[in-house]
C-alpha cells in the first residue's frame, strides 16, 4: 500500500454511466494528488476554448496521499475545474471529513463530466459508484440535502458534499459544501456542479488506507505532532480561531475597510476573534485528524452555526462597514446553507454599497447596514432582484454600471482580507495567483505580518519575488499532499517531504516536493495562457496601485507590483509576457 485508495471514478452524467479505473502510477509520481491530480486531469480532458458552464467542462474532486492516513491535519481534498467567475483553471480546497471518506469509499479522485438530464447525485459506496435521482433534493439547502441523503441511506456515517440553491442558480461564486459547513469556497466550483445538474456526492466505505512504511510514518507523525503542539501560532488558532487576525491586521493598518477605501476599521474589536471567543463561541471544532481545531461553533440567539472564519468575518464586517458580530455570523450561516463563497458574496455587496453611496446604482443599502446586507445575501443566492446582477460577481456588476474600477478583484475574483498597499510581497502573490484574487495560493502574510518562518519587512519589495515563488510552489505541493495549509506555520518542506515519502514509498525530498508544486503551478499557468490570460491580468485594481493609504504607518504607500513582476517572471523561467520558456517546460516534464 502507498497511501492511495487506488482508483479514480469517472462519472459521465450525459451518458448516465460510471467508469472506475486504477490511479495511474505516473500521475502519483508527477502530481502527487489533490490539486495536482485535479489540474492534470482537468487540463487533459477539457479543450481550453470550453465555457466553464458548458457540459464539456469537468469537475474533479481529489484527495492527497496524506488525506485520511492519520497524519495530523491530513484531511483535505481539492476541487478543480474551469471557473465561471474568472474563466481560469482553478482549484478550491476543503477540509472536514469528506476527503477521508472518499478514500475509505475506495477513490483518490472523482471526475464528473457531462450534464445529467434531470437532477442527480453520485453515490460512492465501498468501491462501487452509481448515479441516483436527485429530483427530490433540488431546491434544498446544503443542510437539508445532507440530512435527506443520510436519511435515505439510513446512515449518519455517510458524508456528503453538495451544492445549495446558489449552485443550482449558477451564481458565479457558488461553492460546494461538505458536512454542512466546510466549503470548497472559491471560484464558483458550486456553479459548475449546478450546471451539470449534480446536486450532491455522497461517500461511505471502510477500506483501509495503509502507508508504504508504517514504522517510518509513525516516527514522522510523532515529530510533526510535537512541532504542531509546541508551536505558539497553532495554539492561538485553537483558542481564537482564524478571526484572531482581525485585530492583528487592523493594528498593522492593512485591514481593507468599506470596499478598500481605507485600511483601518475603528470598530474592529467588536468583530474580533477575542470578542467572538468571549460572546458567541460555543466550542471549537476540528477536521478529520486535526489537533489544532481552529473551527468555531457559534451560537447566535439559539441558532448554531460554524464560523465565521477570518475572511468572511472581515468581508461581512469591516469591508461592509458593519460592526455587528451576530449579523456577520448569521450572514456566514446563510452562505453555508445556500452554498455561497463567503468572500466573494460579501465583497460584491461591499462593491454595491460604494456604488450606491456614490450614486452609480440606485439602491438603498449603505455601508454599515447589517439588515440590508443580510437581505442581499439571500437575494444573491436566489438570484432575486438586484441579487441576480450581483450573482455575476463584483467585476461584471461594476462593469455593467460603468465603474469596473470599483470591483476589488484580480482576474475577476474578489480580493481577500489584506490591503496589498501595506504588504508588498502579498500584493505580488495575489496579482500573480493563477486562480485570481487569492490568499491561499502563497500566503505571504505569514512572513510579512506574522513573522513566520521569519520576519520580512512588508513595506519593501527587494527579495520578495523569490519568497513569493517559493511560497506558491510549496503551497501547491502541500495542496497536492492532502495536508491542511495551516500546518505550514509549524512545519517546513522537509517535514512534508518526509510524510509523503513514508506514506507513498516514493523518493521525495524537500526539493522534489517543491518541484512537484512548481510543475502544478506551471501547468495551471500554461493552460490559462491558452484561455487568454497574460501579463495584463497579473495586476490589481487601480485603487491599490494609484491611491495611497492615508492612515498609520503605511501612509503614502501604494502596491508596487510593477517593481517586482519582471524579476518574478525571470525567477520562474518565464518570458516578459509570463509565458514559461521551453527550457522550463522541459525541466518540469511538461
Amino acid at each position: 500500500m502507498d497511501g492511495y485508495a487506488g482508483k479514480i471514478v469517472y462519472a459521465d452524467l450525459s451518458a448516465g454511466k460510471v467508469l472506475i479505473k486504477p490511479t495511474p502510477p505516473e500521475l502519483k509520481k508527477l502530481y502527487l494528488g489533490g490539486r495536482g491530480f485535479g489540474i492534470r486531469l482537468l487540463t487533459d480532458m477539457v479543450d481550453p476554448k470550453t465555457d466553464p458552464l458548458d457540459a464539456k467542462n469537468v469537475l474533479v474532486l481529489a484527495a492527497g496521499p496524506l488525506t485520511g492516513t492519520g497524519t495530523p491535519l491530513g484531511s483535505r481534498y481539492e476541487v478543480s475545474t474551469l471557473s465561471p467567475l474568472t474563466g481560469a483553471a482553478i482549484s478550491a480546497n476543503s477540509g472536514g471529513v469528506f476527503g477521508w471518506k472518499m478514500k475509505k469509499a475506495g477513490f483518490d479522485a472523482i471526475v464528473v463530466s457531462g450534464k445529467a438530464k434531470k437532477p442527480a447525485w453520485l453515490f460512492l459506496d465501498n468501491g462501487k459508484a452509481e448515479i441516483r435521482d436527485a429530483s427530490g433534493l433540488w431546491g434544498k439547502t446544503t443542510g437539508q440535502t445532507t440530512d435527506a441523503i443520510q436519511n435515505e441511506l439510513n446512515d449518519k456515517g455517510v458524508r456528503v458534499a453538495c451544492i445549495g440553491p446558489a449552485g443550482e442558480k449558477l451564481v458565479r461564486f457558488a461553492c460546494i459544501i461538505n458536512e454542512k459547513t466546510r466549503a470548497a469556497g472559491r471560484g464558483g466550483v458550486g456553479a459548475v456542479m449546478g450546471s451539470k445538474n449534480l446536486k450532491a456526492i455522497a461517500a461511505r466505505g471502510d477500506q483501509m488506507i495503509k502507508p508504504a512504511d508504517e514504522a517510518k510514518l509513525k516516527a514522522v507523525n510523532e515529530r510533526v505532532k510535537k512541532k504542531l503542539e509546541e508551536n505558539g501560532i497553532e495554539q492561538a488558532l485553537q483558542k481564537y480561531g482564524t478571526a484572531v487576525l482581525i485585530n492583528i491586521i487592523n493594528e498593522n493598518y492593512v485591514m481593507p475597510t468599506r470596499n478598500f477605501q481605507s485600511a483601518r476599521f475603528a470598530a474592529a474589536e467588536k468583530v474580533s476573534g477575542e470578542t467572538m471567543a468571549a460572546t458567541i463561541l460555543k466550542q471549537n471544532k476540528g477536521c478529520y485528524s486535526c489537533i489544532v481545531k481552529c473551527g468555531r461553533v457559534c451560537n447566535v440567539d439559539g441558532e448554531l452555526g460554524e464560523g465565521p472564519e477570518y475572511e468572511p468575518d472581515w468581508a461581512f464586517g469591516p469591508d461592509c462597514g458593519i460592526d455587528d458580530l451576530k449579523a456577520v455570523a448569521r450572514a456566514n450561516n446563510i452562505c453555508n446553507e445556500y452554498g455561497l463563497d463567503a468572500i466573494s458574496a460579501p465583497t460584491t455587496i461591499a462593491c454595491l454599497m460604494e456604488m450606491a453611496e456614490k450614486g452609480y446604482v440606485k439602491h438603498a443599502v449603505r455601508f454599515g447596514d447589517a439588515k440590508g446586507m443580510l437581505a442581499l445575501v439571500e437575494q444573491i443566492a436566489k438570484r432575486e432582484g438586484i441579487g441576480d446582477e450581483l450573482a455575476e460577481g463584483s467585476f461584471r456588476f461594476a462593469t455593467k454600471y460603468g465603474h469596473p474600477e470599483l470591483s476589488m478583484s484580480s482576474k475577476k475574483q474578489e480580493l481577500p482580507a489584506y490591503d496589498p498597499r501595506g504588504i508588498q510581497g502579498y500584493g505580488l502573490a495575489t496579482a500573480t495567483s493563477v486562480r485570481g484574487g487569492d490568499h491561499v495560493y502563497g500566503y505571504m502574510i505569514a512572513p510579512e505580518i506574522l513573522g513566520s518562518p521569519q520576519k520580512l519587512d512588508p513595506y519593501v519589495t527587494a527579495g520578495k519575488p523569490q519568497w513569493v515563488k517559493t511560497f506558491q510552489d510549496l503551497t501547491a505541493g502541500i495542496d497536492a499532499s492532502g495536508m491542511c495549509l495551516f500546518s505550514s506555520f509549524a512545519l517546513g518542506a522537509d517535514d512534508y517531504a518526509d510524510l509523503v515519502a513514508a506514506t507513498t514509498g516514493m523518493k521525495v525530498d524537500a526539493a522534489e516536493l517543491l518541484k512537484i508544486g512548481e510543475r502544478i503551478w506551471n501547468l495551471q499557468k500554461l493552460y490559462n495562457i491558452k484561455r487568454g490570460f497574460g501579463r495584463k491580468d497579473d495586476t490589481l485594481p487601480a485603487r491599490l496601485l494609484n491611491e495611497p493609504l492615508k492612515e498609520g504607518a503605511p501612509s503614502g504607500q501604494v502596491s508596487r507590483i510593477g517593481e517586482m513582476l519582471d524579476e518574478y517572471y525571470t525567477l520562474r523561467g518565464w518570458d516578459r509576457d509570463g509565458v514559461p520558456s521551453p527550457a522550463k517546460l522541459k525541466e518540469l516534464g511538461l
Binding site: 508551536n231 505558539g232 501560532i233 495554539q235 492561538a236 488558532l237 483558542k239 481564537y240 480561531g241 482564524t242 478571526a243 484572531v244 487576525l245 485585530n247 492583528i248 493594528e251 498593522n252 493598518y253 476573534g273 477575542e274 481552529c294 472564519e309 477570518y310 475572511e311 490568499h439 491561499v440 500566503y443 502574510i445 505569514a446 505580518i449 506574522l450 513573522g451 513566520s452 520576519k455 519587512d457 512588508p458 513595506y459 495549509l485 495551516f486 506555520f489 498609520g552 504607518a553 503605511p554
Partner: protein, 99 residues
Amino acid sequence: MTGAKDHVTVTVRAFATLREVMDRELRCEYPSGVTVGTLLRDLVQKYNGLGALLFSDPETLRDYVNILVNGRNMEFLAGLSTPLADGDTIALFPPAAGG
C-alpha cells in the same frame, strides 16, 4: 522652559492570550528617552506571567511575538531599542495566525 517634555505618555494595547495576564489597554508615563525594551521590562515586572508569553530569555522575544509601534513592527525600526515618543501606541501580539 526648554520646550522639551520631561516625560512621555504612551498607550499599550494587548491582544489574544496576553489579555489573560494583563490589562487590554493601559496608559503609561515614562521619562523621555524610554525605549520599547524598557517598556516591556516594566510590563513584565507589573504583570505576572507576561514574561513567559513574550520572552524566551530576558533579552530575546519568543518566536512570532510581534510588537507594533504606531502600526510598524519594531523589528523594522530599532527593535527593543526603538525610542518611544509622547502619544505613541504600542500593540503587543503573542504568536498568532489565521487565514
